[in-house]
């Protein structure tokens, strides 16, 4: 009789497996998509400067050093929330921050930077096409670029101080080694 009892454990085992899978799934943020461009070279682009800035931003700027590329726009509320974190990071002069001003009005972007401060080493104004080449589907997004100009990491959504301290800066240090 005891030998016949094991089939009754099958539903229990199936339930336990499903419960474990769903519990694991709770920690996944489904709104964040993985980038298809990780470990790929950054796309080729040559973006014009914002008015009043000397330089635009091109693929060449990424060569030879580790850097961050941040997409932002003056119309983007989470970018406003993220901005103080970027300003603080820029003050530490730890790593260059490049900006892609995504689908923005140039005057609005200039006014925005004048009001909140400009943490960017270079800014390029993008009508949206370069953003697509980077796989951008919403601003802000931040990429970590290695010395060879390859995309090594993508953060979707506003960076918090914790993201910078625990993820971005350790990765920058690792890539510089």
């Amino acid at each position: 009789m005891t030998a016949r009892r094991w089939p009754y454990l099958v539903p229990v085992a199936v339930f336990a497996l499903m419960a474990a899978a769903f519990y694991g799934g709770l920690g996944i943020d489904a709104t964040v998509l993985p980038s298809a461009l990780i470990d790929e070279p950054a796309p080729q682009f040559d973006l014009p400067p914002l008015p009043g800035h000397e330089h635009g931003f091109t693929t060449e700027d990424l060569k030879g050093h580790v850097s961050l590329v941040n997409t932002f726009a003056s119309w983007c509320a989470p970018c406003r929330a993220e901005h103080p974190v970027l300003n603080a990071l820029a003050q530490r002069k730890r790593v260059p921050i490049y900006g892609i001003d995504y689908k923005d009005k140039e005057e609005a972007a200039s006014a925005w930077l004048g009001e909140l401060g400009d943490p960017y080493d270079r800014i390029g104004a993008d009508s949206g096409r370069v953003g697509i080449d980077w796989g951008v589907y919403g601003v802000p997004e931040t990429f970590v670029i290695d010395r060879a100009g390859r995309i090594r990491y993508k953060h979707v959504g506003p960076l918090s101080q914790q993201d910078v301290d625990r993820t971005i800066l350790p990765l920058v240090a690792k890539l510089e080694r």
Binding site: P7, L33, A36, G128, R129, I132, Y137
Partner: protein, 168 residues
């Protein structure tokens, strides 16, 4: 009766004439109807990454508009439908395809229904086989045969051999 027929006819007309509400704007469309038709085919396969459960052809999002324009540019430049899809997929990954490709990491997705069917078949097989080997009752013993014959013949059992029962 006529009124019911009329209402049915009107509903049928409404259902047949309801074209899908495309978000494609006239200014995006290609001049060549054949190329535009191909662009629509590609657009139907592409997920809008802002709204997630709509194709770029159905979505009013800004990014969907940009992707529609990009697809039309690729097609006008001579890309096949597959090349235009691949162009977008290279930038946004497999998730941008509304129809998941059949590859190593989607084996479970595509094979899942077949696996479930197989599991159900095995379970059913085990269940019915387990039934068939239910114990066959043992043949009656000589004593039981004797009692059965006695009862069937309408006789009464002698008290001494009665197994159960109450004294009256």
């Amino acid at each position: 009766m006529n009124r019911v027929l009329l209402i049915c006819a009107m509903l049928a007309c409404a259902a047949l004439s309801a074209a899908p509400a495309y978000a494609v704007r006239p200014d995006e469309m290609l001049r060549d109807p054949a190329l535009e038709a191909r662009a629509r085919e590609v657009g139907k396969e592409l997920r809008c990454l802002v709204c997630r459960n709509q194709s770029v052809d159905d979505s009013d999002a800004d990014l969907a508009h940009d992707l529609r324009v990009l697809v039309r540019e690729r097609i006008a430049a001579g890309d096949t439908n597959a090349e235009a899809l691949q162009y977008i997929r290279a930038r946004y990954g497999d998730y941008v395809l509304l129809r998941p490709p059949f590859q190593a990491d989607t084996l479970l997705l595509w094979g899942g229904p077949a696996l479930l069917l197989l599991a159900a078949a095995i379970a059913a097989l085990l269940f019915y086989r387990g039934r068939r080997v239910a114990p066959v009752p043992k043949p009656l013993s000589a004593e039981e045969q004797r009692r059965l014959r006695l009862l069937l013949d309408g006789g009464t059992e002698p008290r001494a051999t009665k197994l159960r029962g109450t004294e009256r």
